[in-house]
């Protein structure tokens, strides 16, 4: 084995128009270790990883991999050298089989014409899959797999490339507790076999459990680095944000009239016979595992995928909600769980995204009043603390937390009385998370009914006045957060 670190990065700089994404960043990863990379969203972690994986090119700086200078210009170069990246948003080919996904780009072939050796491909794929502990047939269609299995397939793909450095970007953000455990087991095995892992996560308990070393970035700069044992959580947070954070508390203010009532709501294959109500001034938390039907429920109430049966009452009046437009007219707004999918128009500016659902209030007749629109946008950016270079910057250039705040602000501009939030803090950093929590509490204080779906137990407890738990498409119980524990929630959420 060669001496020295596996990966050494010095003075790496990457400038985007208007943003210094990386500014002289340093990173050193030893062989056979798990190296956590932490920092708020927008700190430059993703850019650094994209450069290492050959998806982007640095403007200046040095990268040494296995002791040799390394400037990947294309993902294939990085893969050949042994660097594989498991993306936060997985990028599979959903219509192809698992085996085809694993061997995409280096299919085993026979003969000079490149005839694909399907049998060999499936055999090798099966071997790799069993090595990563996935119980998936190589001939399954990728699109049929769940997130956890997809992730294992991606890791198997990295193994097929004989990766020596595996980059994992928020690998657990969509996994259940059990799946997280088996992923950690796999990471330990990989480590034992000499593979290094760069692990990006916002979840401290994970970092403290599996990381050997940690590097902290802030605003594109290197802040510090060291063995995980030399740090505690408070120290890590203050390195990340440059200040200490206070803990939030759940809100238990006065509760008003029943703004939203759902009775016997069902949609085939998603959820069955769900009934609950949300009053003005309260936050109702909905807990449950992935696939428990929570997202489908919110989408049905918002009219994106209307229910087959049951009724929705708004202020006691039965409402027929067949489209988001109907919902908005009735004062219902949704902040979805998929910012890129149906939350934002990526290419549009922050301002245009903010006013998208309520352009009418910035209009005179059919014409947009530019000064009114600017004013509305500035107000919202100030009110929610959206940090963007400018209101006219494309929204896709913002960090995840700020993007999320834009989605929330857009929903609020429609002036809803009932706000539905689906995983409002997924994939955003802790500082932004605290801000989003404060916004949600503020909404409830102002008399709105808020329904929050979250997979993060502390979040549910921090926000909710009541906790509803869903399991397998049905409501399995209701808990009072002041008396219940996380274990109580888990018991209701899991099958016996």
């Amino acid at each position: 084995m060669l001496p020295g670190p596996l990966l050494q990065v010095e003075g790496l700089t990457r400038v985007f128009p208007g943003v210094r994404a990386l500014d002289g960043v340093r990173l050193e990863v030893a062989r056979g270790t798990v190296h956590a990379l932490v920092g708020e969203n927008g700190a430059g972690k993703s850019t650094l990883m994209r450069i290492l994986a050959g998806l982007d090119v640095a403007d200046s700086g040095m990268i040494h991999f296995k002791g040799q200078a390394f400037v990947p210009r294309h993902p294939v170069e990085a893969l050949r050298l042994g660097i594989s990246m498991i993306h936060q948003e997985l990028l599979p080919f959903p219509e192809m089989t698992v085996a085809e996904n694993i061997f995409m780009g280096h299919e085993p072939t026979r003969g000079p014409l490149g005839w694909i050796d399907r049998g060999r491909m499936e055999r090798e794929a099966a071997a790799l899959l069993s090595r990563v502990g996935a119980s998936v047939a190589p001939s399954r269609r990728m699109g049929e797999l769940g997130v956890a299995d997809m992730q294992l397939v991606e890791i198997a793909k990295a193994m097929a490339h004989r990766a020596e450095l595996l980059i994992m970007d928020e690998p657990t953000s969509a996994l259940s507790a059990r799946e997280v455990e088996s992923l950690f087991g796999l990471i330990s095995e990989l480590k034992a076999s000499g593979v290094s892992v760069i692990y990006i996560s916002h979840r401290f308990e994970e970092i403290f459990r599996i990381a050997d070393e940690v590097t902290v970035l802030r605003d594109g700069r290197f802040v510090g680095s060291g063995p995980i044992g030399s740090l505690d959580e408070g120290r890590l947070i203050s390195m990340m944000v440059g200040r200490e954070l206070g803990a939030g508390s759940s809100c238990g203010g006065p509760v008003g009239e029943r703004l939203l009532e759902v009775r016997g709501l069902s949609r085939r294959g998603m959820f069955r016979d769900v009934s609950f109500c949300a009053r003005g001034g309260e936050v109702v938390g909905i807990a449950g595992l992935m696939g428990a039907g929570r997202t489908g429920l919110l989408r049905a109430i918002y009219g994106l995928a209307p229910a087959d049966a049951g009724e929705i009452r708004v202020r006691g009046v039965v409402a027929r909600i067949v489209s988001p437009r109907c919902a908005l007219v009735l004062g219902i707004a949704l902040v979805g769980d998929d910012r890129k999918g149906d939350g934002l128009v990526g290419g549009m500016s922050v301002k245009h995204n903010l006013t998208l659902a309520s352009l009418g209030r910035c209009c005179r007749g059919p014409f947009i009043d530019p000064s009114a629109e600017d004013r509305v946008a500035d107000e919202q950016m100030a009110a929610l603390g959206i940090r963007a270079p400018h209101r006219d910057a494309p929204v896709e250039f913002l960090s995840g937390g700020n993007q999320q705040k834009v989605v929330i602000a857009k929903a609020l501009l429609a002036e809803p009385n009932i706000l539905l939030l689906d995983e409002p803090t997924r994939g955003i950093d802790i500082a932004a998370k605290a801000e989003v929590h404060e916004i949600i509490r503020g909404l409830a204080r102002s008399g709105k009914a808020v329904v929050v779906v979250s997979s993060e137990m502390p979040e549910i407890f921090a926000l909710s006045g009541r906790i509803l738990v869903m399991r397998g498409g049905e409501l399995s119980g209701e808990l009072d957060p002041r008396r219940a524990t996380q274990e109580d929630v888990m018991r209701l959420a899991m099958r016996n």
């Binding site: 400038v15 985007f16 128009p17 208007g18 943003v19 210094r20 982007d56 918002y302 994106l304 489209s323 988001p324 437009r325 919902a327 908005l328 949704l334 979805g336 999918g341 149906d342 939350g343 934002l344 128009v345 990526g346 290419g347 549009m348 500016s349 245009h352 998208l356 659902a357 352009l359 009418g360 209009c363 059919p366 014409f367 947009i368 530019p370 600017d374 270079p389 400018h390 006219d392 910057a393 494309p394 250039f397 857009k410 429609a414």
Partner: protein
């Protein structure tokens, strides 16, 4: 500017600070992104001015403008559809159909002058509306729907004309294509009005903003309560109406309604829009760029004729210049 390019282009800046976010000094690529197309146009302009004395004369430039007016009107129309993420391949045939129908209403003394114009545009609207209906209600890809309309409208044009050009049009009608006002050809004035109107609609009106949103992310637009179907319908009908108008102008210019006019015009129109920075996948672009794109194509055509470049080579040169211009414009965009 909406799009992957951070800084935007000056001619279609959707943002109010054309300088973009302040930051590290503007790189060379950044500059190319912003000024690529005008630059390409300027280079070709300068080259042609040096190569032939007949190019840079007021009269010739007016002729260029007149020659781009038909393609320009079509290109502005198709910009709307492209912005929603669709495509309209039926333009050329709709143009022919509208031209033939308008010509039937334009015989001397038959109807007031405005009548054939309105009828031509209504025919275009009807075709656009039919496209929109199938695209939005039937969820058939616009490529297929408008490909079908391309054949149907061509067939209707042949039926409406009996396969023969419709001639004997009134003098007044022909002025729409051949007349002048203050030394400016009428088709150029029409194009200028169309472009100005489209610019205002796309930049300053609610429906224009919604067009961008639908093309940028249809799911997000729907989730924001936009009526996606109606917005698409607006784009296709606008496109059809402008194809109808172009058909009227063409019929007036060549003094007949030709059932086989406008074959492959849709491709020139789409090319002009794309050269002008409008994305084929929607949500990005605008009318200003489209006009520059049409201008670039018109200048190339005119210049090659002036230089007497043989036909075979003209085709090669045109193709290369068009691709080259887009290449410069998108230079370094990753």
């Amino acid at each position: 500017m909406i799009g992957p390019q951070a800084a935007g282009t000056w001619y279609d800046d959707m943002s109010d600070n054309a300088n973009g976010p302040a930051g590290a000094g503007r790189s060379r690529l950044d500059w190319l992104r912003r000024y690529g197309l005008p630059l390409a146009l300027a280079v070709i302009f300068a080259g042609l001015s040096a190569a032939t004395p007949n190019f840079l004369t007021a009269q010739n430039l007016i002729i260029v403008l007149r020659q781009i007016s038909i393609n320009g009107i079509l290109a502005v129309g198709v910009t709307f559809v492209l912005l929603t993420g669709g495509v309209d391949l039926s333009l050329g045939s709709v143009l022919a159909l509208s031209g033939v129908v308008a010509a039937h209403c334009a015989h001397p003394g038959a109807w007031p002058l405005a009548f054939p114009v309105v009828v031509g545009m209504l025919v275009g609207c009807a075709c656009g509306g039919a496209n929109a209906l199938v695209v939005t209600r039937g969820r058939v890809p616009s490529f297929i729907v408008t490909l079908g309309m391309m054949t149907v409208a061509r067939g209707l044009a042949l039926v409406a004309s009996g396969g023969k050009p419709v001639s004997n049009l009134s003098k007044g009608f022909c002025l729409i294509g051949g007349g002048e006002a203050l030394g400016i050809p009428v088709p150029v004035i029409i194009l200028a009005c169309v472009a100005a109107l489209a610019y205002v609609v796309l930049r300053h009106m609610r429906v224009g903003r919604h067009v961008y949103a639908v093309g940028g992310n249809e799911a997000a637009a729907r989730a924001s309560g936009l009526r996606v179907g109606r917005i698409k319908c607006f784009a296709y009908v606008t496109c059809g109406a402008l194809a109808g108008l172009a058909g009227v102008v063409l019929a007036a210019r060549i003094t007949t309604g030709q059932p086989n006019a406008g074959i492959a015009y849709e491709l020139d129109a789409i090319a002009a829009a794309v050269i002008g920075g409008t994305s084929l996948s929607g949500g990005v672009g605008g009318v200003g760029g489209t006009i520059l794109g049409a201008l670039l194509m018109g200048v190339i055509n005119n210049g090659l004729d002036l230089l007497n470049v043989p036909s075979y080579y003209q085709q090669i040169v045109k193709g290369l210049i068009i691709v080259g211009a887009v290449w410069i414009d998108r230079g370094g965009r990753r």
